[in-house]
Symmetry: C2
DNA sequence: TTGAAAGCGCTAACAT
DNA sequence: ATGTTAGCGCTTTCAA
């Protein structure tokens, strides 16, 4: 006979965080009448040295209900799911007892039996910060609305964790996956398993531009348009020497924003000297660095369009320290519409990324794929960002 | 024979978001050799009007492996889980084929059979913002480290959603639950189901102070100490008329912070006139409101301790607009250590809530309960917050 | 309208 | 060291 402390082997154990959202209503079951199962009870010693007998907490099952009502499990199941061919009377009886016994359907079993988990997977680089929680929230709401569960994984920008998370999601039998790639991901073989299983995949925000095959459905932001709008706005305000802070150019978002910057300058008859473009891993510190550097030019800029809000803050601090007035002398526009852009002084104009809409759209695309299995991948959806003009760039 | 389009009834369907984190390693399976099941194949019409034949994507199962290797499913299962009593040779063979066939264990089935999902549930008011994502991240990391899955629900501060989420978590067969209550929650009957099932429960951050019974294990921040430290710091810097912005006093966090403020004043021989305490639903706007009001006093304050960072920003804006220098004339200290406190000018001193530590501790408490089923609830853990002194309150 | 029976994929007790 | 058997709780044919 096995000892009490025998724990199951953990080799396969996997670690996940599951974010759940309610929406679909099912009346909550309510109270009393424990039927005890025949399964063994456990005895355990509390830390005080006290011996406490535990009755194995029994969770009421459909079988229990069936027995109690003298019905078959199938009928009970049907009654509970609102199957039309069950008499109202029976449904009533079943529902009442279910309430009384606090019946809670075991979703694991249901999903296993049905062969579908009714769950969609989401893989993001982070769950902290501004952007991803907002997108996830959008996903949550839309999924909720359409009666789907959502599982989210975070890759921490690490390809290996991304691989594991994909595995986890597949093992959890998700019906579709939404992915925003880790910035380091260059090899996409871990998505083979997804394709092999026929699981629909939709990329959002961070996508693989050269990923071949049928799995390129995507929802992205039109970074080019956002940057273009920002720079066009600056030109319209009369700024003439517009600088640009760019993130690493191997990332499509920064490449596109850079191009939008260049195109807007060109279309407004402005020059785009190399010296006005500062490329770095953008954060507050590199923002100050970049601004200092720009201020040392023979002809310093009269505006900065930063590919990132944090760097914009850094730039503003340097400008203020050097006695430049914002926006009178120098204008600043950021990108992302982070919460703090409305809190600085002056408030920072920024390009909003439509986080919520992105999440919502990604879910919709996935559902479309889900409904038409085997159909061609959908053309990418490109969301138009919104320029929010605040104090830092408005001098007219 | 049922038609193609017959969809399952949705009455029970529930909506959730699942956040997963990897940590525990299991080598990822890799490539080739589809065995087709005998299950029916589906035909579907693509949107183009094209008829596409789909082979039902077959996911390799343990049974498949067993058949292919001429072993019993049990042996394969044991080999895969690293059971010691399986010969190395067999393990090798099994693992190899599993790789080749891209075997992915069905966690649903495993959890169902084992009777334990290896998952802990988390219920928070929001997943956006600063605090909760950080706490969740802490939870994620610790759970990950100890080989547990985590499911998170957001209640949107709504009791009804909180109820549903608790149901969802229970239906998902979680082994324990971490809860931060919705601010509107007054009735706790939805936690009865949790107690009834014997599922351990740990509250964090927002707790029920008067909730009776064995389910009061909790992890909270010592708000009183945080407020006390902030105000003591202000007194130490020579400020004498210290005002306080408080949130609604029916919430324990604000009540405790208010008390900490009062106690610190008393201990430093300072008076605490009613007129210096401004109570409101704290945000940037009410912060400006409160500050304007305070500035109109016959004897305006020379420092403000705000129970919330946003209101502190609002206060600073008003102060600057009125030509008061910060911190020379008036000091400001906030609470929460939001990211933007380091970005404003001047940067704002604030009380850090140890988000990460809170998540980590909550998981540890839960695991303790999990390991000692039936033992008494644990005494609440009180975390000491950390005062971060920044520019807004440092004049010495 | 209801019941009987089978089985989703996996694991574990009990053989061998 | 491996196989046999049974069953987690639910859904779903198929039959009555």
């Amino acid at each position: 006979m096995p000892g009490l402390a025998e724990l199951p082997d953990r080799t396969w154990q996997q670690c996940q965080i599951v974010l759940m959202f309610t929406a679909c209503a099912r009346p909550a079951p309510c109270l009393l009448l424990p039927i005890f199962s025949a399964r063994p009870t456990r005895a355990s010693t509390a830390s005080t040295g006290f011996l406490i007998r535990m009755k194995a907490p029994h969770r009421t099952s459909i079988t229990d209900l069936a027995r109690a009502l003298n019905l078959s499990p199938s009928t009970v199941s049907r009654a509970l799911t609102g199957h039309p061919q069950v008499s109202e009377a029976t449904k009533q009886r079943v529902r009442e007892l279910a309430e009384q016994l606090h019946f809670q359907p075991n979703q694991l079993a249901a999903a296993l039996r049905r062969g579908r988990s009714n769950t969609i997977g989401v893989l993001v680089p982070y769950i902290t910060g501004h952007f991803f929680p907002e997108v996830v929230n959008g996903i949550a709401i839309e999924a909720s609305r359409t009666g789907h569960n959502v599982m989210i994984c975070q890759s921490n920008e690490d390809v290996r964790q991304e691989q594991r998370n994909i595995e986890l999601l597949m093992n959890a039998q998700v019906e579709g996956i939404l992915v925003s790639l880790a910035s380091t991901t260059q090899d996409f073989s871990h998505f083979d398993a997804v394709r092999r299983a026929g699981t629909p995949l939709v990329f959002f925000d961070r996508i693989v531009e050269d990923m071949a095959g049928p799995y390129t459905s995507a929802v992205v932001l039109d970074d080019h348009a956002g940057a273009y709008a920002a720079v066009a706005h600056l030109a319209g305000q009369g700024y003439r020497r517009i600088a640009h802070f760019s993130g690493p150019l191997h990332l499509n978002i920064h490449r596109n924003r850079h191009q939008g910057y260049l195109d807007a300058l060109r279309d407004h008859g402005l020059s785009a000297p190399e010296e006005l473009v500062f490329v770095a891993d953008l954060n507050q510190e590199t923002g100050t660095l970049g601004m200092r550097q720009l201020l040392q030019l023979a002809e310093p800029p009269d505006a900065v369009f930063s590919s990132n809000d944090l760097a914009a803050v850094g730039a503003m601090q340097v400008l203020k320290a050097h006695g430049r007035r914002i926006p009178a002398d120098v204008a600043v526009v950021g990108f992302s519409n982070e919460a703090f852009t409305a809190l600085t002084e002056p408030t920072i104009s920024s390009v909003d990324q439509r986080c919520h809409l992105m999440g919502l759209t990604a879910v919709q695309q996935l559902l479309r794929l889900l409904e038409a299995p085997g159909s061609a991948p959908l053309p990418p959806v490109v969301l138009t960002p919104e320029l929010l003009v605040r104090a830092s760039s408005q001098r007219l």
